[in-house]
Subunit: 319 residues, 2 copies
Amino acid sequence: MGEFELIRRYFASAACAAGAEGVALGIGDDCALLAPAPGEQLAVSTDTLVAGVHFPEVCDPFLLGQRALAVSASDLAAMGATPLAFTLALTLPTADAAWLEGFARGLNRMAHNCGLALVGGDTTRGPLSMTVTVFGRVPAGQALTRAGAQVGDLLCVGGVVGEAGGALELVLGRQQVAAEIAEPLLARYWSPQPQLAFGQALRGKATAALDVSDGLLADCGHISRASGVALVIESERLPASAALETLLGAERALQQKLGAGDDYVLAFTLPPRHLAELQAQWPQMAVVGRAEAGEGVRVLDARGQDITPRQGGYLHFME
Amino acid sequence: MGEFELIRRYFASAACAAGAEGVALGIGDDCALLAPAPGEQLAVSTDTLVAGVHFPEVCDPFLLGQRALAVSASDLAAMGATPLAFTLALTLPTADAAWLEGFARGLNRMAHNCGLALVGGDTTRGPLSMTVTVFGRVPAGQALTRAGAQVGDLLCVGGVVGEAGGALELVLGRQQVAAEIAEPLLARYWSPQPQLAFGQALRGKATAALDVSDGLLADCGHISRASGVALVIESERLPASAALETLLGAERALQQKLGAGDDYVLAFTLPPRHLAELQAQWPQMAVVGRAEAGEGVRVLDARGQDITPRQGGYLHFME
């Protein structure tokens, strides 16, 4: 089976030959052609997931397909971009029909949920891994970067952080727990919901934004450095997760909230004048701190004491 | 070392923080922002190279860096697109400084030659592989697809095909030969020169185009199917390669010219009225056949006898 045929057969429902808004030419030529409207910019992000590193060698291909796309789509949410299209570079040890069918079903479902059309890709033989590149549209000058946080802004998150990190304990088989606790955590890990609509709602309001992928502490560090402000996280304001706290206890749950990187929830800075309007529409968001003059990120407990961990977040090739 | 730092340190000379024409935001945020001019479409292509499949496990990282980008840039040439930017997803077993330095030097050099700015990427730990996604600009409606060939068009190639395929015998150590024969072949394999300017010159002239990556015969099959025409290749008109013919003899050299896929030379169909003007400017191009009514691809020898091989070109997951 040729690679185009392989891609076409399994990914047909996400595939876009042409005609979707903003897509002039889809799968099957040397390049796809994207056609943003005048005045729009194109947001682009690339992420690779490697078996044994980012997910277990043996796992449900449906869940993996969902997750592979959601991880990248979350980067569009973080820029406030409107989803447009994606390419998939899939490296497989063998062309296993059942695996491909499951993976494609998960990918297609997430593509449909996110409004992303598959416009191209590559299929190669090798150790299992996948690279997804996503494309979104954003009016020129309105993308949410990491660089605009101002002293006096509120530091906010788009929802609960840390649950997917807690789930990793279960995914890797390190811990076992009752289904009613495991299931909500596992859902967060395997089926992250990129906050796409929320990201678009933040355009023109948030001064800096990203999706939590290295862990809240490390990601706040990215905003802090890019914007030239200090960020303060008030730990008791981090949204509660009964499942996470039952699984790990309060202290380790807090570590996950600060350090875990798989939730793909947005973190952003917001001038206080926009808070009421946003919160009315997005009740799951939470204010968790503030931007101050200075540099770095500090974590304070309920009494205002500094409890900043020395190292937060997961860095590849960290030595 | 964090991944951004890793990327920044080694790929700094290809990296684009912002400011290049068409790039509104480069490396370091959740997404890059591309800003095509009004009336322009964005051509996108993704290619993965896997160690042990697409290149030897042990090879010169400088040459690999060159080749990894050239392979994808060639897809822009095939669409007639003007190079804009690329992302690199690099998966490495270890963060080896000498290897990274060499790879980045090769990649940066090819990026500079092609006019491509690095705008984003991902660095992950795992078996060695790399996925490059390239972006080019093309005026709306002027991209060269595979679908426009007309009965009566000439079938042309942009230069010698088959040399990189011959080089593979040397790269994999299957054959040894004098340096004056090996060197031009190896150069074609390791430092393919994407025909970017030539591809742009074909805009508004060629009716269908692609870059030879599956082998001329298989790639002509792609044009034939997409355009609904038959293509005839006259084997004696394929450009001669003294090095290839010395290495393999006439018959195996012809097999490489028809079946080898690593040259990244353009193949295209051209109404005869454009031939003289193009040839005057691009003397290395050659007419190698014609488009006829019907379907499929035939190869004829000097006496007009059908010598079409039963199977040409390399297909991934071919069974």
